[in-house]
Symmetry: C2
DNA sequence: CGGTTGGTTGATATTATTCAATGGTCGTGG
DNA sequence: CCACGACCATTGAATAATATCAACCAACCG
């Protein structure tokens, strides 16, 4: 557990290596995964101005986390207009991510949501150097996918089985193979524009990571 | 139609009066409502740094909109640290709004989603001076609710009918009556913390509006 | 080994959708 | 003033999507 909802902290966190997820709990104890975090992703921009978040963060695999005091970052942002510009860009990127998540939850079928997740991850992983679509690292459990997309682990399993049976994609023992990207894209029902924007956001993220 | 997805614009828009909604279209022509906008709400912070948004904005009732050139706002933010602070606060507020929306879509039943919408609107309207819970202005159509919460207009209608039959809330001819707020809250299944945060965000919004 | 965690499967129940039709309200033009 | 069309809201019956419950399996780890 990297951060607990409501906990006070002055640290600005960034995942350097490994996989993590951001989530919230409902009163009745169910979990809603808000986003998945990969190497280079900031845990939360909120922490630049606030010391308590409204969500928790948990590691999926072993992680190395970079923690910087938030005043240090704020000094940088306050003094450099280009840093402010980049910060705004980052906010926008996160906003687009939530927007895609809302569209998935609101208007896509279970299969469409999982297809969209695979395609998003393909892009994010490609930006991190994993180009081979038939062997992508994917340590996210079926339970996590279910909690991210408002489904049951059982139903996620059935969709994955159907992907396997139809020769669309295969997820097993922590590695994802995208077999028929075109079909996957059709199942997700993405507009071209969305694809571009996602890629743009990913590249932006990568850019800041390298600095 | 106030703004169309992809359109180029240098204006920073704020709703002064009336109701509007932010939405995206899927490739197959369905609509996902991303949020509802009331008087005092900014249409998008994105427009401070980018001239093309990834969503459209449409009026629900007649609206009066405040449009400011974005360079004007940016000069203000760049020159005043407190303005930057407020901008961050606003970003956070929007983020919490999306987060609640994701939780609704992912983990609440149809009745829970609509109950949550009613409670959220109760707070936002109270911050704007509408204190009488039995007579809240509510021009949002059943179709809009359906598109916001991933439901069918038909199903929204059935949930509303059940609310009416159970004496929980009544929505008719553009006015909402909250009859049993406690029951409504139980149906929504809100954590106390979430209530506080929503209220905080609303007050923040109101604060900036008055300036 | 044995325990734990995550994945798989089948039968059944619930929730929400789809399709199709009816009714109500409001503005508008004849 | 009436008739018409447009746009919502409402309702019923049939169907599809997803959840629930209850097992069982397989891999991994100490």
């Amino acid at each position: 557990m990297i951060y607990q909802e409501g906990e006070s902290s002055n640290l600005f966190l960034t995942v350097l290596e490994g996989w993590a997820l951001r989530f919230a709990m409902t009163r009745d104890g169910r979990r809603q995964v808000l986003s998945f975090l990969l190497g280079g992703d900031h845990v939360a921009l909120d922490s630049l101005s606030f010391d308590r978040m409204t969500f928790s963060v948990q590691a999926i695999t072993d992680c190395t986390i970079c923690a910087v005091d938030r005043t240090t970052i704020n000094r940088l942002v306050g003094s450099s207009p280009s840093a402010l510009e980049r910060l705004e860009g980052r906010h926008r990127f996160l906003g687009i991510g939530s927007q895609q998540h809302i569209i998935s939850l609101g208007r896509r079928s279970a299969a469409g949501r999982i297809a969209q997740l695979f395609l998003e991850m393909k892009l994010r992983l490609a930006a991190r150097g994993f180009k081979d679509e038939s062997r992508l690292p994917f340590p996210i459990r079926q339970r996590d996918i279910a909690d991210a997309y408002g489904l049951t682990p059982v139903h996620v399993n059935r969709v994955l089985r159907s992907f396997r049976a139809e020769g669309v994609a295969e997820l097993a023992r922590g590695t994802l193979s995208i077999i028929d990207g075109k079909r996957l894209s059709a199942i997700a029902g993405l507009k071209e524009l969305d694809q571009d924007i996602t890629r743009y956001g990913v590249n932006l993220s990568r850019f800041e990571y390298q600095q």
